[in-house]
């Protein structure tokens, strides 16, 4: 069972329970914002075969997206959540999870909308200056990749080294390559949990890139991540009459 427990700091931490008697440790507060679904990719967790997870709404959305990408073929997942009234809900089937997510589909946070609005109000040169300043701070720790439940490739593109596809050193051009590539690989798959932006040790709003991608994909193709178990990934499909205005 994966849930949250208290720690010495104010922030609740993930906890992994194997015995029923340990259940007393579990807590659920407003501060339980982290996306626990990232642990479901770890082999030491998966070998348990039967796994329970206490999910907040972002985690539920991540679970729907991961199921649509067929990532839980070998484990039996039991999903619990706590709703706004503080009641603990146990989902009987994965379809029930999907229905709950669709009924309570989270909107973009106020902060995200405000920041995106601010960036869109800048001129192109000002936006370039903003992002290159941000990426100058990036130390290539790949924490954004580590915490993302959608970044589960056993070998990431950055590991492609014949030729070295993405520059390794933490210099602005290489950082630009990394973040652009990551945003494209997550476009339409990111479920907006905001973990990447929260975890960045140098405060880069990494999540804004993928949030913007999701907005664009919804606007252009009407697709949403983490919405349906069947999945609807915009870059996998196409319509013969997709419209664009920039191809000569």
């Amino acid at each position: 069972m994966i849930g949250f427990k208290e720690a010495l700091t104010k922030q609740p931490v993930p906890c992994f329970i194997e015995k029923a008697s340990d259940v007393e440790q579990l807590i659920y507060t407003e501060d339980c914002k982290n996306n626990l679904s990232v642990y479901l990719h770890k082999p030491e967790v998966r070998q348990a075969k039967k796994i329970g997870i206490l999910a907040n709404i972002s985690t539920l959305r991540a679970l729907v997206q991961l199921i649509s990408e067929n990532q839980f073929w070998d484990i039996e997942l039991t999903v619990l959540t706590v709703n706004d009234l503080g009641e603990v809900l146990l989902f009987d089937t994965l379809e029930a999870v999907e229905a709950y997510v669709q009924a309570n589909f989270p909107n973009y946070t106020e902060e995200e909308i405000k920041l995106l609005g601010y960036l869109e109000s800048l001129s192109r040169e000002e936006r370039w200056k903003y992002w290159t300043d941000q990426f100058a701070n990036c130390i290539k720790c790949y924490a954004c990749r580590a915490v993302c439940p959608m970044c589960y490739c056993p070998q990431c593109t950055v590991e492609c080294n014949q030729p070295q596809w993405i520059k390794l050193s933490a210099q602005t051009t290489g950082n630009l390559e990394w973040h652009t590539m990551r945003a494209m690989h997550l476009a339409g798959r990111c479920i907006n949990c905001g973990e990447c932006g929260r975890i960045c040790p140098v405060g880069i709003p990494v999540h804004l890139l993928t949030v913007r991608m999701n907005q664009d994909l919804f606007k252009e193709f009407g697709t949403r991540s983490g919405y349906a178990l069947k999945g609807d990934y915009a870059l996998n499909n196409f319509k013969p009459d997709d419209k664009e205005g920039f191809i000569k």
């Binding site: 960036l119 192109r124 040169e125 000002e126 936006r127 370039w128 200056k129 903003y130 992002w131 290159t132 100058a136 596809w165 993405i166 210099q171 602005t172 051009t173 630009l176 390559e177 652009t180 590539m181 945003a183 494209m184 476009a187 339409g188 890139l209 913007r212 991608m213 664009d216 994909l217 252009e220 193709f221 915009a234 870059l235 499909n237 196409f238 319509k239 013969p240 997709d242 664009e244 920039f246 191809i247 000569k248």
Partner: protein, 156 residues
């Protein structure tokens, strides 16, 4: 018409083998005169063009980029250009959000019979990039370049 500067832009063209490359070849065999600024990179299909290649072209000295392939419904591999089109829509939006100058990238459909269109396209893009000037957004970003400039300034 004399160009404003004698800046010779470097245009990299990512083209599909079956349509645009053949179209460019036709422009050549028809002895059509067009700007010598373009360097053509041949792909089996536009669907194979990795979006990072566009960024890497700029990093390696390109001033402008052309991406061109078969018209919709005419792809040699049936649907490669459809997937490419979706990818371009998304990537272009991302580049614009980051503040990259998407005006330097031109996308087009050029078929194997459109040699003239290819020549016109290259001429247009060359003129456009000449007017915009060389691509300098990626200069002075990395420490090594900054250090060189610093050292140069110190020794003056």
């Amino acid at each position: 018409m004399q160009s404003m500067s004698d800046f010779e832009p470097k245009i990299v063209a990512f083209v599909c083998n079956w349509c645009t490359y053949a179209g460019a070849d036709l422009a050549g065999t028809s002895r059509t005169q067009y700007a010598p600024s373009v360097r053509i990179v041949r792909f089996p299909c536009t669907g194979r063009i990795d979006f990072m290649l566009l960024m890497k072209a700029f990093e390696n000295g390109a001033d402008g980029i052309i991406v061109s392939g078969c018209h919709p419904n005419d792809c040699h591999y049936t649907s490669g250009n459809f997937h490419a089109r979706r990818r371009w829509i998304v990537f272009r939006s991302l580049l614009d959000f980051i503040g990259f100058d998407t005006d330097r990238i031109t996308f087009s459909w050029v078929s194997a019979a459109e040699g003239k269109k290819w020549a016109t396209l290259v001429n247009e893009v060359t003129e456009h990039i000449q007017a915009k000037g060389p691509f300098t957004d990626l200069d002075k970003l990395d420490f090594i370049q900054l250090k060189e400039q610093y050292d140069e300034a110190i020794t003056k």
